[in-house]
Amino acid sequence: MNDLDDAVRRRAIHRQAASIIAAVAPFGIVFGAAAATAGLSLLQAIGFSALVFGGSSQFAAVEILGDGGSVASAAIAGLLLNVRSLAFGVIMAPALFGAWWQRAAMSQLMIDESTAVGAAQIEQRWRRYGYLVAGIGVFVVWNLTTIVGHVAFAGAGDLITDLGLDAAGPAAFLALLWPRLSSAPQRRTAIVGALIALALIPFAPPGVPILAAMVGVVATRFGTPEEQPSGAPLDESGITP
C-alpha cells in the first residue's frame, strides 16, 4: 500500500519536473546564442550555465557585457537577480538535510524551477525528491542547450515566441500553485504575493519583486497573529493528484 502511494507520488513529481525541464530547453538555446552574440567563448558560456546556474541572472550579465557595460554593473545586476535564492534556501533548508558538503552540493541546484517543484510537495522527503529531480534535470538540459545555442543558433528568440513557449513557464508555476488555492490562508497569501510582485515590477530591478512578495507575505503574517493555519506547520493544502 505504502509502496503504491510512493510510486504514484514519484510519478506525479516526474510529470511536473518533465514539463518544467522541457520548458527550459528553448531558453537555454537562447542563452547560448546570446552569449555568442555578446562575444563570450563557448567555455565562458558553459561556465555561466554550470557554475552560476541561474537563468535570468546569466541573461542579465551577458546582455550588459554585450552592450559594453562594466564588469561591476554586470556582476551586480546578475547577483541582484539571485538574491531571491536566500529566501529559496530558507524554504528548502529542512528538506536538504545531510552532511554539510551534501547540503552545499544540493544548494547549487537552487533555482526557480527546482524550488517550485520542491516547495509544491508536502512531506520533506518529497520536497527533497522534487527539488533534486527538477534541479538535476534542468541543470543537464540547461547546459546542453547552452552549447547547442552557442554553436548552432543565433536569433533563437523568435522560436520561443512563435511557439508560445514563453507561456510554458507561467502555466507551470500556476499549475504548481493551483492545489494550494483550495486553502483560504494559502489563497490569501498567493493573492497578496502576486499583487506585491506585480506592483513592484516597474520600480525594482528584475528578481526583486519576487523576493519582495515573499518578504511582504511574511511581514503581514507576523502583523496578523489571528490568522493561524491549522494542522501541519509547513502546509495543510492538497497536492496535484
Binding site: 563570450l40 546578475g78 508555476f173 493555519p229 509547513l234
Partner: protein
C-alpha cells in the same frame, strides 16, 4: 583575464553564497513554530509571484500580451482538472495562436 571571466567568477562565488546560506546556516534545525508557519506560506507567495512576473513582466515594464491568454487558458485547464503536461501544452498553443491572429 577577460571581463566576462571576471564577471563569471564573481557571480559564481556570490550566487553560491546566496544559494547555500539557508541550507548551510539553518541546516535541518527546526525553527520556532511561528516562524515555520510563516515559512509554510512562502511557497504560495513564491509561486504566485513567479506566475505573475513571468506572465506580465518584461524587464521593468508591466505588459499585457499573448502570455496572459496562455495563463487564462492554463487556469481553465487546471479548473477542468486536466493533467499537468496538457496544461503546459494548451497554454503554449493558445499563446502561439493568439500571436498568429493578432
Amino acid at each position: 583575464m577577460s571581463d566576462a571571466t571576471i564577471v563569471l567568477i564573481v557571480m559564481t562565488v556570490g550566487t553560491f553564497a546566496l544559494k547555500s546560506a539557508g541550507p548551510l546556516v539553518l541546516g535541518d534545525r527546526s525553527l520556532p513554530a511561528r516562524v515555520q508557519q510563516a515559512i509554510g506560506l512562502l511557497p504560495a507567495a513564491l509561486l504566485a509571484a513567479l506566475t505573475i512576473v513571468s506572465t506580465m513582466g518584461d524587464g521593468r515594464e508591466i505588459v499585457v500580451d499573448a502570455r496572459l491568454v496562455g495563463l487564462v487558458v492554463a487556469g481553465i485547464a487546471l479548473w477542468r482538472r486536466l493533467p499537468f503536461v496538457v496544461v503546459i501544452v494548451v497554454a503554449s498553443a493558445a499563446t502561439a495562436f493568439t500571436r498568429l491572429i493578432s
